[in-house]
Amino acid sequence: MTITEILRSMWNIFVTYYIGQGLLLSGLGYTLALSAIAVVAGAVLGALLAIIKRSGFKPAIWVISAFVEILRGTPALLQLYIAYFLIPMMLGVPGMSPFTCVAIALSLNSAAYVSEIIRSGIEAVDKGQTEAARSLGLTSRTTMMKIVLPQAIKNILPALGNEFIMIIKETSLASTFFVGEMMTTYLTVRGLTFNALPTLLDIGIVYFVLTFSLSKLMGVFERRMKASA
């Protein structure tokens, strides 16, 4: 196969299957849905974990630390496999859809990373800020909500954006369970055309355009935030 043949196949496959049969829309839809669920649920759960961890209740800290370390220290694909079997069993829902399983697993995985992002974001705020607020007689709650967190957000948001991009890439693992996101469309198209390479290159371009434009968008956002104090 020459380069021109590959390029022609890429174009043909893209037009016929991705546009013509709507695989681009459905694939992107599932990818973005999975990522959005994982990032939002991960952020909420991660924030919760970070708050509980800061509360100083020892048994809770041990459990959370173990959770975070295990999820960060094992491959995401392995976690998806385990979740695929374990989650329906634990929740008592035998016929649970792969999409739900994958969404839950990715959310938990993301929560582990986000809780660390939030923890380090809070710890990066100068201790003097807390001391000044407390020395003026403000409660720890007021100090956290109105002095520390608003400053920590500036450390947290950019890292959260990177986490979003990481998750978008990680959703490709869901193709193992034929969930329907971008990487699954490769399996579909390959089965119809028996032409793997051009399909993979097409998908690569889609992923790259998605993550690259997101990271540029975040760059703009970050600069604005820095400008506002």
């Binding site: 100068d126 003097g128 001391e131 007689g137």
Partner: protein, 308 residues
């Protein structure tokens, strides 16, 4: 007004304060001097419980801020199991008290010393305790690193604590309260000639400006006493004067102040009393004249010969 009773402070195995007792009277200006690492900043930070003393008590206006320290209350020791055991072993009352003090014999867990002990500890605490946040509103602190709130403008920095305090106190007419606080904040800014910086963020200010704003941020709380933790140590030399001038004015206006400082000339000029802290103790204490003209402690003499 402020009383520190037999304060000990350990950081892990490091013993920083080893039994410090002192008091601050209304209108008094006290300077704490000593070498770096002597425990002088820790002593100041124990006064408003930014550091919680390991042993000892802090009292403000007759109210207890720390937990009860049983070693300061003989009547508590006398109902403890440990004391009764010593009496049973043939100790006299005096001997038993002395032995318990010398060897820190009281059990940390209150219930381990019996129900009477536990009840008396609670009784003393309940009768005298004041919430630390309430107490801190009346003794604000000025830090070496200024610690202005980075996410707030100068004006917001000055207004923040009074507004939050009004909210804690469930002030009914918040709008009127806010207007009053803002007027006062502007008045304070005017006093230090920085009213045109009201809308600026701290990152745009010089060190001297930051520290003067930190001082009026404390003043905005109408404190009974102000604690200064090396307020000029992080400043460029040309900015030290403006901060010391403001502190001089406060002292002249009758503000009660406790100042940890390396500015010996300033300490000598404004202080009513000077504490020399060394190796975790107050080694010498007296008027500026006594301290600078006639120092007795050899470590103080050595210190003064190096800094003067």
């Amino acid at each position: 007004m402020l009383e520190v009773k037999n304060i000990y402070k350990n950081f892990g195995s490091l013993k920083v304060l080893k039994g410090v007792t002192t008091h601050v009277e209304k209108g008094e200006v006290i300077s704490i001097i000593g070498v770096s690492g002597s425990g002088k900043s820790t002593l100041l930070r124990c006064m408003n419980l930014l550091e919680v003393p390991t042993f000892g008590e802090v009292w403000m206006e007759g109210k207890l801020l720390t937990p009860v320290d049983p070693y300061l209350h003989p009547e508590v020791i006398e109902v403890s199991h440990t004391f009764k055991k010593l009496l049973a072993e043939g100790y006299s009352r005096e001997e038993a008290l002395k032995t318990i003090h010398a060897n820190d014999l009281l059990k940390e867990k209150h219930s381990a010393e019996g129900p009477a002990y536990k009840a008396l500890m609670k009784e003393i605490y309940d009768a005298n305790h004041q919430d630390i946040n309430e107490a801190r509103r009346k003794m604000s602190m000025v830090f070496q690193q200024f610690n202005l709130f980075n996410n707030k403008t100068v004006l917001e920095n000055v207004m923040f604590a009074p507004i939050e305090t009004a909210k804690y106190n469930h002030v009914k007419d918040m709008k009127a309260a806010k207007a009053e606080i803002e007027e006062r904040a502007y008045g304070l800014l005017k006093r230090i000639g920085l009213e045109e910086k009201a809308k600026a963020y701290p990152s745009t200010l010089s060190g001297g400006q930051k520290q003067r704003i930190a001082i009026i941020r404390s003043l905005a709380m109408n404190p009974d006493v102000m604690l200064f933790d090396e307020p000029t140590s992080a400043l460029d030399p040309e900015m030290i004067g403006e901060v010391l001038d403001l502190m001089r004015k406060l002292a002249a206006a009758g503000m009660t102040m406790v100042i940890v400082t390396h500015e010996m000339g300033f300490a000598r000029e404004v202080s009513d009393r000077i504490l020399f802290v060394d190796e975790g103790y107050i080694k010498e204490e007296g008027t500026p004249d006594q301290i600078f003209r006639d120092p007795h402690d050899p470590r103080l003499r050595d210190f003064l010969s190096k800094v003067l």
